[in-house]
Symmetry: C2
Subunit: 415 residues, 2 copies
């Protein structure tokens, strides 16, 4: 059975971790920052060194290609992303891209006759510095003007981020691939949660990915003097935003078991000791496996925001900035992953993903699946994010074996 | 009866308002920014044009002087400040400095024989960009290493702010004046509250200034993935800070009538949609006329912070950054102000100040008093801050008349 080259994978992992490394052991590779652009460039360089073809599409997705000899061969995408959250960890996204590249190298060196083209792809802006899943939505043909008009990182952030990457906004949609050209999508990723570690299981087979919605809220009151404005004469934007943030936790814990909702940011203006805040900017996100529950969460949490704004005499602006539908991953590919995992002598477990992934976009146009490896302490989006190296190697070998099995099955279909 | 030159005062007011003017009609003259340094320079220039002496002390206080002919004459300080809060208004501080300068010009032109030196002084950093009342505390000899070690604007902010003003940290304390050299302190200021306007009174005679205490709080939890971290596994710093901010309002309204407490800033890290916040930085300030009540507020609010931190499994760091004692202003000067106000045909009212002022520092070393003029809508620390021009002129005339009366009384003492 073919296996990945552990030393080569390790060397790649360490080289990549050094690009945008932070003093506390993580990386800062937000979309289009210097380190992110350097990492993507490094990735193409490593692919070329391995004799692979490379390409960059109009959404900035960076690919290494191992072409099939067959005419009209479909493409099996193996992907993840090289961008990180601000001051993030070394594994999220990076492991999946490196394992995909290693899979192509092993397949290339083994001289396997491939009925399908293998493409290791680094998707643009998975983490949402600009939009979130920008590259994968574009490739899936799901990038709408509506999404681009109210991006997570703001309109200026999107414009600047695209410009830094040499991308033209109007051409992003040209990254769309014809679904009939795709043979599927596979992604290796760290779990970013505590389940696999707790259950002492080697490999997670992902059943589906939660849907999520995100909103920017702005509470607007009256900035006034903190010494001369009596408590009952205040319209304090920070009080409204705080009551809302405290209330989100309370309501979701009480009425929405299994769902998560997060106030990830509160920013207050002007932010001085002696000024009653006139404005507060809040970032809200919530997730669920069920669209119906997302609808109920949206109703409940936005009503809460309106209620708290009213109670404090504030204006409230609500700006939806993200809406990702929950998806179910392909049962056939899930069976294949479970089978090759067992053949490798590893244990596996089916589990849902609470985190969003590029597979969410891909699953809308092609059969898609994800392989999870354990995250120490469930920690992620943090410099302390860690996955044991043995688990990384296991994940890469499961990806490789799954790809070979998909290729074998495709060959049988051809024959 | 001598009166101020209304046109000259108006021209000065408009010239000053143009220095650091913001698009929405206010000024941005935080301590040591370009506009603030320019305004202070402009002030000395105007003093020199009027033939007055000028000086800058080691704390950066800028003064215009009308010297007494008498040997060993004591100095009557007339002051306020030219710095503003970020994006503040045109009246706070500025009016007092301009009226002081105008008072010196009128006295100088009238050729009055003065038994005391008159000094119009622009105190450094009243608003607390760096420390708060930095110049007046220094002059009063009350600037301690403790205060300088944990400044409101942070240690780096203080260092940079002083450097920009050409001031040496070690020499600040040399600004101290011998209390026996001082004949008193008078300050004209806008009320920054609604009382005078509501009561339709021309002039406020300030009985005392509230004490205040301020703290930086840091809530530290665990930053984690907003999709994969269940609600009950979170240690969310933003939730702790929000519950605290909401609780401050509730507790103070319920248990501390007449006091004010403000969470003027909440800052969250990392501040992304998809990351449970690991840290939240909070600015807390509270004020009362009674030291005993300040003690109780401190106990109550810091206990609340500890409680909310504990409830969410957070660490809490508490850093005191300001402690201003409540002061009573001089009954003799207050009577003088009330008397000259009546002689000018204006109405007056005694009232306390909820805002901090340089008079708070001066009152600890010399007899001090403050003259208030109405603030439209009680609004302050805002570009919309406004005082009717007639009220500004009234205030300046009351200041001038009070100075002349103090000088007359000092002359009598000499005779």
């Amino acid at each position: 059975m073919l296996q990945v080259d552990v030393d080569r994978l390790r060397a790649d992992f360490e080289a990549l971790a050094s690009i945008g490394a932070t003093p506390d052991g993580g990386v800062d590779r937000t979309t289009s920052n210097d380190a992110h652009l350097a990492a993507r460039n490094w990735f193409l360089g490593r692919a070329k060194e391995a004799g692979l073809d490379t390409s960059i599409d109009p959404a900035g997705n960076h690919s290494a290609l191992l072409l099939s000899g067959s005419e009209h061969a479909r493409t099996l995408l193996l992907g993840s992303h090289l961008d990180s959250v601000p001051n993030g960890g070394n594994y999220d996204g990076a492991l999946g891209v490196l394992a995909a590249l290693e899979t192509l190298r092993v397949a290339s060196e083994a001289g396997i006759e491939l009925p399908i083209t293998l493409e290791a792809i680094d998707f643009t802006d998975e983490e949402g510095t600009l939009v979130g899943l920008l590259g994968s939505w574009a490739l899936a043909g799901m990038l709408t003007d509506e999404v681009l008009a109210s991006p997570r990182g703001g309109v200026e952030g999107l414009r600047d981020g695209l410009a830094r990457a040499g991308l033209e906004p109007a051409r992003l949609i040209e990254a769309r691939r014809d679904p009939s050209s795709l043979a599927g999508y596979l992604e290796l990723h760290i779990e970013q949660g505590p389940v696999l570690e707790r259950e002492q299981v080697d490999i997670g087979v992902v059943t589906g990915i939660v849907g999520s919605r995100s909103f920017r809220l702005r509470f607007r009151g009256t900035r006034s003097h903190a010494g001369t404005t009596p408590m009952d004469a205040r319209r304090d934007a920070a009080v409204g935003a705080s009551r809302f943030a405290a209330g989100v936790r309370e309501v979701v814990v009480r009425d929405f078991p299994g769902c998560v909702a997060t106030v990830g940011d509160i920013r207050v203006e002007p932010g001085a000791f002696n000024v009653v805040p006139g404005q507060a900017f809040v970032k809200l996100e919530f997730r669920s496996q069920e669209e119906e529950q997302l609808d109920r969460l949206e109703d409940t949490l936005l009503s809460l925001a309106r209620l708290e704004a009213e109670r404090e005499g504030l204006w409230l602006d609500v700006d939806p900035v993200g809406r990702w539908t929950a998806v179910v991953l392909d049962p056939g590919l899930r069976s294949t992953i479970a089978a090759v995992t067992a053949a490798l002598g590893l244990s596996s477990l089916e589990l849902p993903s609470g985190a969003g992934h590029d597979a969410q976009a891909l699953a809308t146009v092609t059969r898609s699946a994800m392989i999870f490896v354990p995250s120490a302490g469930g920690l992620s989006h943090d410099p302390g994010e860690h996955t044991a190296w043995r688990d990384c190697v296991n994940g890469a070998n499961v990806l490789l074996a799954t790809v070979l099995e998909v290729a074998r099955a495709a060959n049988e279909l051809l024959v």
